[in-house]
Symmetry: none
Subunit: 248 residues, 2 copies
Amino acid sequence: MLKRERQAFILKQINLHNRVLSSDLSTEMQVSEDTIRRDLLELSNTDKLIKVHGGALSKSFHSSFLREDIYQLDAKKMIANKALNLIKDGMFVLTSGGTTIIELARILPVELKATFFTGSIPAAYEYAKHPNIEVIFIGDKISKGSQITVGGEAIMKINSIKPDLCLLGVNAIDLTNGVTDNDWDVVQVKKAMVEAASKTAVLTITEKMNTCQKLKICEINQVAYLITEMDHQADLFKAYANTGIEIL
Amino acid sequence: MLKRERQAFILKQINLHNRVLSSDLSTEMQVSEDTIRRDLLELSNTDKLIKVHGGALSKSFHSSFLREDIYQLDAKKMIANKALNLIKDGMFVLTSGGTTIIELARILPVELKATFFTGSIPAAYEYAKHPNIEVIFIGDKISKGSQITVGGEAIMKINSIKPDLCLLGVNAIDLTNGVTDNDWDVVQVKKAMVEAASKTAVLTITEKMNTCQKLKICEINQVAYLITEMDHQADLFKAYANTGIEIL
DNA sequence: CATTTTTTTGCATTTTTTTGCTTGTTTATA
DNA sequence: TATAAACAAGCAAAAAAATGCAAAAAAATG
């Protein structure tokens, strides 16, 4: 393993877990702890991380997109991990934005080769870091609130593709109203995404389940997978499973 | 094995595995490591890969970590400040990517109301933070090395707009060859940008002046403004000013 | 075709970088 | 305070890089 690769790996671990132990890194990468220490020293000298006794911590403002104040980060990480199972080599994946999707973008395994379409700036930013993923950005006007592109151009572009999978971070889902949201522009885009994709997976923390907002994105039966942080056998999901949705 | 073949093989390996070792290449192609080193040096000089101790890494790999340390940041801030003078309320501005443009994006005054078009992820991210700026993202495939969109869709989109001003961060400019760059895809997009805009401003640190790369973006006389960190009366600019370019 | 020039390549030598190890010191914490 | 872990500094071996040089190959020239 080359020195630069090692340092890249360390930074990735730091961005993923916010902290690393020298001993872990040493065994993971099969080099002596001295080497790790020297790497950490270099990275800390260039302000890439904060070196502490035994390892290193992430510089809170190091990443362009702050993660400190993400609501229910652990739950979202868990969701992202489950969602990984749906993504296979060679797939064309269309994704929305949102913090859950961004967590997913961060943990995509390096060996994965796939093509990702998105209109989300932070998501595209994360995808673009990945060595083997081709990223197609769906351009148009950027909605300030959500950092994703909205508008006719974007929708036309989405209509012109046929991805295998759509990963949708959503704000509200319930049995009778389906997937809903409050932002008109965003709803138009997400609608188009669900229509375009062969299958749609909905990612949400359970807190948002059985809630409803003003505008409909799609019906429950258009959703193939529901991914939350809870065990898929929980009672909460019974009624959803009955509609044919696969709970992960 | 011919030199050209060898270098093509190296690039193929880089695209395949994101990394190569000089020693591997040496045995695989039955040439001395010196030769490999010289090949890697050449490829690195034309920005095809990142040369590191022991081998080389793919550009996309590199972009995934060492981004925070911006070269000549102070100079770039100064350039950004000068460029501000060109941007007026109500303008439609088309911008490339690059660290200088991103500095500019960061210091746009809050009162400014304008519409910005860009294909650069980090630039769009900065523009989107601004309260009064409308951001239109030019979508297409994202080039890993430079974090900007490239390709036919992007170029078509650029051709369909008529911005007042194009702000171009460039890597090389000289009197006889004009504005040049090394990345074919990026050159296509920048070409389209210059063609589309009423006026083009070139932003560059003086270090890159009077240097030349392999592919032409535009002639000197297509540039309306040249913005560097140095005083506009410096001798360095005399010849440029004579061609009618306004030096800021 | 002969000859000059340029490019390419490998080799020897020196220099630099990287890495693991040892030794003695510091630090965290039970 | 005791103790194990982590650290810093220096050292040495190995790997890689830079440098200069010369032979071979290729290209250009008359």
